[in-house]
């Protein structure tokens, strides 16, 4: 395994880990509710009803 391959593998695994954390956070945020409480997953300024 060359150094380039090792660095590339580390970078790719890092990107995959970030993507995984992002998706999991989004899913948790959506299911638990968010600032806007509308389930859209982003702060759309809707107030809690």
């Amino acid at each position: 395994m060359t150094t380039s391959t090792i660095i590339q593998t580390i970078v790719v695994l890092g990107i995959v880990a970030v993507a995984l954390v992002y998706v999991l956070r989004r899913v948790i945020k959506t299911t638990r509710g968010n600032d806007c409480d509308c389930g859209c997953g982003k702060n759309c300024r809707s107030k809690k009803h």
């Binding site: 391959t5 989004r26 299911t31 389930g39």
Partner: protein, 792 residues
Amino acid sequence: MINKQDKINNTHTRLLDNEPVGMTVQVVRVMGDGAFRQRLLEMGFVRGAQVTVLKNAPLKDPVEYMILGSHISLRHSEAAQVEVTDKDAEFCDMEDAYNGIVETTVAGVDPMEDNVLRIALIGNPNCGKTSLFNCVTGAKEKVGNYGGVTVDSKEGWFNIDGRKVQLVDLPGTYSLTEYSPEEMYVRTYIRDNHPDAILNIVDAGNLERNLYLTTQIMDMNIPMVVALNMWDEMEKSGDHLDIEMMSRLLGARMVPLTAYNGHGVKEVLKAAMEAIDESEQETRHHNVNYGALIEDCLKELGEMCPTLDRYTVLKIIENDQHALELIKGQDNADLVRKTAAEMRQRIERDYNDDIVSIVTDLKYGFVRGALAEALTANPDRAIGETKPGYSMDRLLTNRWLALPILLVLMWLMFEATFTLGAYPQEWIESGIGWIGEWIGKAMPDGILKDLIVDGIIGGVGGVLVFLPQILILFFFISLLEDSGYMARAAFIVDRIMHRVGLHGKSFIPYLIGFGCGVPAIMATRTLENRRDRIVTILTIPFMSCSARLPAYLLLVAAFFTAKQGLILMSIYLIGILVAAITAIVLSKTILKHDKTQFVMELPPYRKPTARNATIHMWSKGKQYLQKMATIILAASIIVWALGYFPRHEGQTPQEQIENSYMGMMGKAIEPVVAPLGFNWQMGVSVLTGAAAKEIVVSTMGVLYTGESDATEESTSLKEKLQTATKANGEHVFDPIVAYSFMLFILLYFPCIAALAAIRREAGTKWMVFEIFYTTGVAWLVSFIFYQVARLL
């Protein structure tokens, strides 16, 4: 001397539902009780009001009526609750109800207590509150030419004269009586948040109905500015309003406004700030004068409840349960309740009517009296004459042509989406292909290149190419909404909705559901009955949302060479059909209930503006691109990683992906999806689509890109699907498999955001039910279609 009740009793009355089309009659009374009766009264079905029967819907029910310049749809069974008489019959003196105003003194307040000025936008549905909100705050909240678009409050900020102001857009409401959820929401907001001023938006072309709500706000003693929206239409109509006189009568500033083009916005805000500044000193407020008897009662009861405003005191006399709740903690609560009951009896005895009708009549009487002094109607316009642009309504809601026109318009929309969208799609496709090739050549072989080319470009690019179609479809939907046609579509299909056990009001959430299920599920809050709400919530996911569109566009373009618009339309229609069947089953079994009565206002026809349609289209496009850059990008990377690892030396790309984690997962579920004609790649695509439906396409983009040989020339996902083969050399996809796959994508469980919304609005039990029910239905429908189509 003949009293009022004798006059009514001596009047020859009949029921509104028996009146023929074209007839104008006068309202005598609304029978029954409860929320529906209250709603009819508030919408202007008060004693002496003139109603014109405009037409029957194509399926004979409901009927369109015109009252106080508004077009209202009532079913026959509901119109049968309204007693009417000849339009010239003299059975009541309308002038009796007009007693002018009374003045009350309100102490000065400090509006800067929390350093924030708060202005609330309040008005009837579809009077332009959100248009003004967007104009002032620069927001892009959805607006539509029908009521019920805003279901909760939206907050925005603006600066004026160096002061920061919070503007709150509240749902449209006909009154603050707290009979329906939106009324309750607005009333609670005012009570809990004490806005520094109320900006009451009224439709200048329909003042009589709109000012009813104004009379309620007047009694709350909150600084108020009345914005006369759609002033341009008022001027065109030839009517003349003496704004100064009207302002004097209401005791509130009135400012002309045309919110959609921003004319008058500055003046409206300036007037609101002046009203707030004035409220810091002791001010004289104008209130409706309800006549000596009621005024005496209000004074006496007001002294017993010094902390309550005039509106709430009147509500206590009306025996309003929410108002009575407010005095629970008071020491003299029992005495207040007893006194109010005695007063109510006295008033009802004197007026010979029930208290709700009396107060509504008096409020409308005040509005009529004020308008008689300040409004000069165009003498060339006759009673019952419809608004401009209404002539085409005869064609659009014609008994025989209405449904075919609705279907043709839908078909045209889908066909245009395909044909017009094909050109920009090709450009984006070649752009993405070029980027992929360039990166492929520029980067050395390795895992990073595979991630960028196969994972990111293959996944995100596969979905991005459908941006033009999304924009075109929403441009057309926006045109139809703004023109007022969508509300007519609800009128046309109302009888069908009623037959399948759905509430007429459900139409608006369904309409929103074609865009996104989450706001659609929230929009069911306007339904009063919980069972109606649950049925609507559970059927909304069958309205195909825009996130599913890329999958249809990909499959239709790849496997159907002719009649593409028709094929796409059939998918949407099947969704509607399954929703209807589900609604019938649910409303006749586990969610059985009596039909809720419903009155719907039909908005006027308006020329859609390119600006509004472009804003709507742009906001949809922005949402789509944001999704690309976030959830779809992240999901594509994960799908790629699951399809890339573990690595096996010496295997072909196809063998590698089959032995990957994704391949193992796909093989595990393959037996379940094989009877539907799906391979394992399609199986995992629908699984990953749970996060967001666009991911179905991005997953296929990753899986099919990963499978292709490195030496193979770069081709689009469409071509890859067309050429994909099984181990035995047969094509994976053909039109039957593609259609079966589209049916499954249409019907299977909604995305996580929609499920979360279902849980919040209906509860966990119904969310779990929805997951199993929708997936079961999807599997069954796809299975039947695939197996039957294979036999034929």
